[in-house]
Each structure stands twice: as C-alpha cells, then as structure tokens.
C-alpha cells in the first residue's frame, strides 16, 4: 500500500456505445480496482461524464489517465486528490416501517445525519442521505444496529473540481478554433 492514495478521475467522452468498456480495460490491464464509478450525461450535449475513484500511486494514476485520454472518443481525462474537488455521494436506506417507527432512536439518528425520509408506506420507508462517503457508511451502521435496514444502496462518488470552469468546454472550443485556423 506504500504511496497509494485515493484519486478521483473525471473523464469526458463522446456518448458512444463501448467507451465504458475501453475505460475500464485501462484499469483491468494494470490490475487496479475501481472503487466507485458514476456515469451520466454532462452539461454538454452528446458528452458523457465519468467519475471514477481508485487507490493507486501518483506514478500510476498519471499513466492511467493518459491511457484513458488516448482512447479515440475520450475528450479529456483528469485526476484529482480529495483536496482538489468537491465531492458528494447519495445513499438510500430502505427500512421496515413498523421497526423504524417502533424505535424512537431511529428518527433521532436520521435527524442527526440531516437525512431525509422520502417515502413512507405501511411496509417500508426510504431514508435518503447526500453527503460524504464516511457519513453514509456510519449512518448505515447505526441503522443496521437498530435492525431496521431492508436494503441499502449508494451512488458512488460524484465530484466537481474546485477550478471555476468545466475545462472540457474550453478544450472543445479551442480544438475547433485551431481546426478552422489550420484549414484556412
């Protein structure tokens, strides 16, 4: 584990089938385990955004990111340490309504974490928490201690960098400008 840190990689790619496979293959080839992976549409039309976390060394993260960026339909890939990003995670805890309501501790725990109850019906209720990874884990442990958790799911990390702009916007604009200039 010497020298290993948790890195967050943010990738922007074209929205084409098969790119996720190409990106994860870069990790597989080096036997790096992906801790979390989130993929969704970005603010730019036709561009998808990937947020990937993994534990690795500074030397290896650099190479991984370059190899990802080398893929034909990947627009940009960058990596960040935790102090260079704002990050959040969403979790849902499905709890048994009778157990949950029968235990006054349960709603206290939910309030303490500023979690929300987003669904209540006679059989189950759903608690939702947006926050840091550690809080999500510890809320799970507390609710489990109260023996009322039926299901639990977490989204994996999503993150934005602390710099002001989404760099990919500038990059795409610059690429098109350079292309038009060279064409002249």
């Amino acid at each position: 584990m010497e020298n290993k840190k948790l890195y967050t990689i943010i990738v922007h790619s074209e929205n084409i089938a098969g790119i996720l496979n190409q990106i994860t293959a870069v990790f597989t080839r080096r036997q790096i385990n992906i801790e979390s992976l989130n993929v969704s549409a970005s603010s730019i039309k036709g561009v998808h955004k990937y947020t990937i976390t993994c534990w690795t060394t500074p030397d290896s993260i650099e190479k991984v990111v370059r190899q990802i960026e080398k893929k034909m339909d990947v627009i940009q890939a960058h990596y960040f340490t935790d102090d260079e990003i704002f990050q959040q995670e969403v979790a849902m805890y499905k709890v048994s309504t009778p157990e949950f309501q029968g235990n006054p501790e349960a709603s206290k725990v939910v309030r303490r974490y500023s979690a929300h109850i987003v669904e209540v019906n006679p059989t189950f209720s759903i608690v939702e928490l947006t926050g840091m990874s550690d809080d999500i884990t510890s809320l799970y442990q507390e609710l489990r201690g109260l023996k009322c958790v039926l299901q639990f799911v977490r989204s994996g990390r999503i993150a934005v960098s602390t710099s002001c702009f989404e760099r990919v916007n500038e990059y795409l604009a610059h690429r098109e400008e350079r292309y038009l200039q060279e064409k002249k």
């Binding site: 496979n21 293959a25 370059r66 960026e69 990947v74 292309y179």
Partner: protein, 567 residues
Amino acid sequence: MSKEKITGSEALMRSLEHEGVKTIFGYPGGAIMPVYDALYDHRDKLNHILVRHEQGAVHAAQGFARVSGEVGVCLVTSGPGATNTITGVADAMIDSTPIVVIAGQVGASLLGTDAFQEVDLVGVTQPISKWSYQIRRAEDVAWAVSRAFYIARSGRPGPVVLDFAKNAQVDLTEFEPMITDFIRSYDPDPETDPKAVAEAVALINEAKRPLVLVGQGVELGGAQQELKAFVEKADIPCGCTLLGLSALHSDHPLNKGMLGMHGNLGPNVKTNECDVLIAVGMRFDDRVTGKLETYAKQAKVIHLDIDPSEISKNVKADVAILGNCKRTLALLTELIQSHKHTEWIESFQSYADKEFQEVIEKEVYPGEGPINMGEVVHAVSEATHNEAILVTDVGQNQMFACRYFKFSKDRSIVTSGGMGTMGFCLPAAIGATFGRPDRTVCAFMGDGGLQMTMQELGTLMEQRCPVKMILMNNNYLGNVRQWQAMFFNRRYSFTPMMNPDYMQIAAAYGIPSRRVTEREALNDGIQEMLQTSGPFLLEVCVVEEGNVLPMTPPGSSVNYMMLNLDC
C-alpha cells in the same frame, strides 16, 4: 430528383477508392460475400490479393503500409476470419502501423445470439486497436470508412477495425464520399509548448555529451531530412531503435548503430555516459532500456513524441516536446546553435573497434567452419548495395539481420518489433513488394518462423511477387535455444526442430530455390537469387548453435553488454 441508391458493399468499394486504396489483402467467407461480390466489379481498380490465411492478409497489409507510408487494407470474413487477424492488429498497434481491417459480421438482428461465425470483434479488438467500430447501417459506410482511414494514418498511426454487419452490406443507401479531417475528441498533432522548446534548446546548446535516440517516429513523420539537419547542426551522435534503423542511413557519420539488447556497443554504453539524451519518436521499450533503474540516470532527457501517453511512461522526461517531429525537429534546428562535439563523437570509435574485433569479425568473416547468420546477412546486404528493403521474421534471424544489414534508403526496415510475431516475415514481405514494386525485398527467416506462415508460399506462387526469401536454417528455434544455453543450463527443451525438405516445398509451389551448405557457394547462391525474376527461396544451412552477440542480458543495465558467452 431522388439520388441513386447503392448497396452498403458498393458504398464500401467507392469509399475505399475515394481514400486512394489500390491494393487489398484478403480472404472471402460467408459474412463478407456481398462485399466480395461488389469487389468483382471493382477488380480493375482495387487489386485484391488472395492470401492463404487471414493472418497472412493482415501482415501483408502491415508490410505494405510500412514500406509505402500508405494505409494497408485487409478484408476478411466474420468469426474465425476476423480472429485470425488479431495477432496482426496487436502487432500494428504496438508498432504504430496504419492498417484498416474490414471484417464481415453477422446481420444486426443476429448480433448477440451466438449466430454462426459471430464473434464480438469490436469487444475483442478495442484494447489492441486505435479504433474499432461496427457498421450496422449502410448509410454509415462513407462516414465510418473516412473516419477509419483518418484515424489509421494521422497522429501516431495504428490499426483500425471495421466490423461490417451483413445487413449493412446489402441494404441500399444514398452515397456521398466523405473526408474526415477533424475529430473533436482526438488531437493527432498536439500543440508544442514553446517553453519546453526553449528549455530543450538551452539543454542542447549547453550539452557536452549529447546523444540522439532515433525511433520509427522519424519515418512515420517523414522527418528523415529534418532529423539529419538537426543532428548535423548540433553535431550529435545517434543510436537507432530496431524500427528506426533506416531513418538515418547506415553510412551517416553520426549514426553510431543500433540500440538495445543486441544492438551496438557504442550507443548502448554511451547512453549511460551522455549528459543530454534526446529521444525522437521512440518509446523506451524495455528491449532498448534494459534495467530502467540504472538507465541514463546521469542525463537530462528530452523526449519528442506525437503521443502524450509516451511521455514519462518508462523514462521520466525532463523536457517533453509534443507534436509531429517533422515540425518539432525543424523548430529545434532553427533555434539551436551550431556545435562541434568532436571528442565525444570520437569516443564512440573505441567501442566500435572493440565490437568489431570481438564480435563482428568473428561473425562476418569466420574464414572456416559452418556458415554464420551474420555472414549471410552481410553478404546479401552488400550484394544489394545496401539499397534493398529488409523484412525479417523474429528471433536470431531478426537480430542478425538488423545488426548486419545496411540501409541507404528510407522506409527500408519491416520487422515485428514490439510484438515479436514469428511468422510475420513472409506475408509482410509479400505486402512490401506491393507497397514498393520498384525495390528489392529481402526476407530473412528462420526455419521456425517460415513454418508458421508457410502457407503464404501459395500467395507468392499465384502473384509471382519478387520476394527474395533467405531461410537461415539451423534446425533450432534459435533464440530460445540461445537463452536456454545462457540461462537454463543448456536444457534444450523443445527447441531442436525437424525440418522438411524446403527445396521440395519450393518446387511444389513452382518457386525457384537453392540450398547452400558451403561458404564458397554463398555468393553464387545470392547472385542467383537476385538475378532470378520473381520469388526465390535461398536456404542457407547455418551454424546450428550460433549466438547473437553482443547481448545485454534481461534485467541488466544498458551499458553492460556481453561480448561472448564466457563472461
């Protein structure tokens, strides 16, 4: 007025012609039959070479591309046809060779059903190709083909795989030829940082013992003249990588020879003595660097490469100059001062002398005993006035060929460097004769490698392509045997090999041939080979347990080279 509609297969033909394709290496089969049917009407413009195995098609396309600088094209069917090209696709990837492999695929409605001869070709080739794409609709053909050729040939070249579903081959579409010259997610010639250029110029101007490492990137970028101008102005000695051997001609006074495990003593030893190391279009392969922990630690490293992922991948670059080296070398040449490094350059001579006395003289001029491989290569190179294209297989034949063949023309070396694909030589040489019909193509093989793709003798027979095959037969898988001798206590585990009568095999294919067993007959045999038009097989029975020397043993430092097996 509605436009004419044509089939996807016809669209493929027109797209290929639009890209300037004239030669296709291929093999038909079920899922590519509509394309072959369309090809029948285009056979006057698209010269299709029927190979005997799909691996032969892809290596031929590689050989074609390497000598001509154009994109090699390979056409195969789905399933096994497609998977038979995989070795060549991976080979082209690691050796940056522009090829486009077009494979048939089952119809889109059958995809994912384990249909007959269905294989997930895109999935299989994604990690080993520059781009793989499945064409599922006839209207996508023009776009996909133009994009494929643009990607294959631009930037750092590489293989592109087009997986052509059968429904898209037969469906009708309107057709307008397309040109791709921009992909927003792909920058084939990254911008050069002027600050890095200034730093490099300062380092080069201050350098007392600079060394240039010449890689294939110089030839891929067409930067041979720019390289020459650069090293001449700065007066810097050079070492060439295996694939960069003909980028700076052998007789250039600044060319100090080949780098790497079996390279020349001077450039390898001096790598660990230079103060500035300038790597041009090369990727610091482990066969070049030896032990990385001790590689050129004393030197400032300037790395010129078009591929950002190569920078600091193996050797940390102090200065990275991104971009096509044709442009970046010219930029550096303009900015650097003229220099003389006479003493430093002369210091290579003692190593060249030592290597000559202890290795080369014994190998090339043994005087008596069995014929050496180096001796054969040297004789063929001389007989062709160092002007031929060298194609090699993999192993001892490759190392001897690359050590002793000399180059006086650009794009003259075709060998499987990164992959080390045995069986590469014969089909690649066939491809090379189509890429440069004006040049002599000499193909050096061992008895192991020839037998891996020997079926391509059928292609040779049919096409009469003038491949001068030099089979250096030692009845061993020589390179592995050498390692067994050196590192496995001479336990020759499955390296001795029983050989067929190659004269009879050549005769069966109607290919003229000659076997040479005596030194006195060697030059005569070579002359007969060169004077015979069309293909020729020259089998030279060479010393059985010859060893490639010098050698940097695996895991050793680049400056440690064994000159004989006694040390």
